[in-house]
Every structure is written in C-alpha cells, then in structure tokens.
C-alpha cells in the first residue's frame, strides 16, 4: 500500500507554498504563497477523508487568516523591504536549528516502524451526521469553551487594534521617550 499520486502532488504544492511564503522578499507574495500552502493542506485533509476539516481549513485559513495577514501587511506599510532586511542576523543559526529539528523528527518517524507496517486501513465511514452528534453530545463542553474563547479573543483583538482617538492618549503624537529609561 503506497502513497497515491494525488497525495504526492498535494504535498508538493503545500510544501512549495510554505517554502515560498518563508523565503520570498515581497510580503504580498509571501501572503499569496501562504494561502496556496493552506489550500493545499485543505486538499490534503479532503484527500485523507476528513472533508469537514478540509472545508473548515479552507474557510478559516484561506478565507480569514490569509486575508487578515494581507490587511496587516497593508496597515504596517511593510509590503516592500530591502534585501538585507529580509532575514535576521541570526538567520543562519535559525535555519540550522530548523534543519536539526527536521532531522530529529524524520529520524523518529523512520525509526518508529510506521514506514514498514503493512496494516492496510479502510477509509473511515464518518458522515456529517456523526460529526454533528459528536459535537453536540461528547464534545459539547469543549465547543462551548471554544465559543467563549473566540468571543474573548475577538474583544481582545478589537481593544488592541483600535486606534486611541481621545486627546488623553499621548501615544499618537510619538512623544520622545526618556533616554534614561532605556539604559
């Protein structure tokens, strides 16, 4: 039982999108590549038989988070950066660390025996009906908690991002900070 061609194509698309999002210079291109990567991952979920998760991924990541990132790029005027400002000074160390993490993860995966296990698994028969019943019965408390958390996060995001307009806030005028405090 090997990997199907569709899985390989979607995995390549996802990884290429991720690499492009992390290496391109212009931030709008990065956001576009990120959306491609998220969409490829949603297609991977559908490919693996999790249609509802794929749809949620498409809605939340491609529809909301990618657009939110584009708006953040617009609002911070950082769509174009100079070439020397793309990567941080410690970039080489970070890349080496990421490579080491990948080596450890791949070593663990290859050494765990899942590469050679021959147990063929039939596709799980889950319908939307089952997912709905699970959400409304066994997982009803996590569902309520997540609803509360989303509300709190929304209020918090609005409070953080709203521009202070009253005259009592001196943050808008960019007052020079006390140099003694920065020592």
């Amino acid at each position: 039982m090997g990997m199907t061609a569709s899985f390989l194509i979607l995995a390549t698309l996802t990884l290429a999108g991720g690499v492009a999002a992390m290496t391109l210079r212009r931030l709008v291109h990065c956001a576009l590549a990120l959306a491609v990567s998220f969409a490829g991952l949603a297609a991977l979920y559908v490919n693996l038989g999790a249609e509802f998760a794929g749809l949620a991924q498409l809605l939340v990541y491609v529809g909301a988070i990618a657009i939110l990132i584009v708006f953040a790029i617009l609002l911070t005027h950082s769509s174009e950066t100079e070439l020397q400002k793309v990567f941080s000074p410690a970039g080489v160390a970070g890349a080496v660390l990421a490579l080491a993490v990948f080596a450890v993860l791949a070593w663990a995966v290859v050494g765990s025996g899942v590469v050679h296990s021959t147990a063929s698994v039939a596709a799980p028969q889950t319908s939307m009906r089952d997912i709905g019943f699970a959400l409304m019965q066994g997982y009803v408390l996590p569902l309520e908690v997540i609803a509360l958390m989303l509300t709190a996060a929304m209020i918090g995001a609005v409070i953080l991002a709203v521009r202070p307009t009253s005259g009592s806030e001196p943050a808008e005028t960019q007052a020079p900070r006390n140099p003694e405090l920065r020592a």
Binding site: L68, I69, S88
Partner: protein, 103 residues
C-alpha cells in the same frame, strides 16, 4: 513507504519550514505566518493518525483539528492586532528593531 509515514514526513517538513521562517524572518507578520505553518503541520499529524489509527470511528483526532483551527483563528486575530499595536507604538514591524525590553 506507507501513507501514514508519508503524512508524518510531509508534516515534519512543513513544521521545519515554519520553524525556519519564524526564526529567520525579520518581519513580525511572517514570524506569525511561520507559527501558523507549524500549527498546520501538527493538524496534519492529527488527521493522519485519525485516518490511519486503529479507531477512526471515535473522531478524536478529527475533533482535535476542528478545535485547533478555531484556536488558530483566535491566535491569528490577537497576534495581528498585537503587531498593529506595536507598529503604531514603534513605527516598525521588524522584530530585530524592537529592543525596548532588551536588558
């Protein structure tokens, strides 16, 4: 190579790409994007273990992904709002120029 191992390898590669981006990029928005990629890699692992695990009818990994996507949405909203607030304060979204709290 079995499909489960393929999924796990793709997921670990995606995680490393996200980690490399989060550690090397200077723009705070792309650091957040790298963190989102790492989160997505973990979600792919959940789906893979749900699909190829012994009991896919329990929907555990599947539900974990649904809730994780919701948490990621909240995280992205708050994170981007924080980046906007920092940008208004410091006039930059470059993480290596924000050194106010450096000892």
């Amino acid at each position: 190579m079995t499909p489960l191992a393929g999924c796990l390898l793709v997921s670990s590669l995606l995680f490393s790409v996200g980690l490399a981006g989060a550690l090397t990029r200077r723009n705070a928005i792309l650091v957040l994007a790298g963190i989102e990629l790492m989160l997505n890699a973990a979600n792919l692992n959940f789906i893979a273990f749900w699909r190829f695990g012994p009991h896919p009818e329990f929907l555990t990994g599947f539900m974990f992904v649904i809730f994780s996507i919701a948490v990621a949405a909240a995280e992205a909203a708050v994170g981007l709002a924080l980046i906007l607030a920092i940008y208004r304060h410091a006039r930059t979204s470059d993480v290596s120029e924000i050194t106010e709290m450096k000892g």
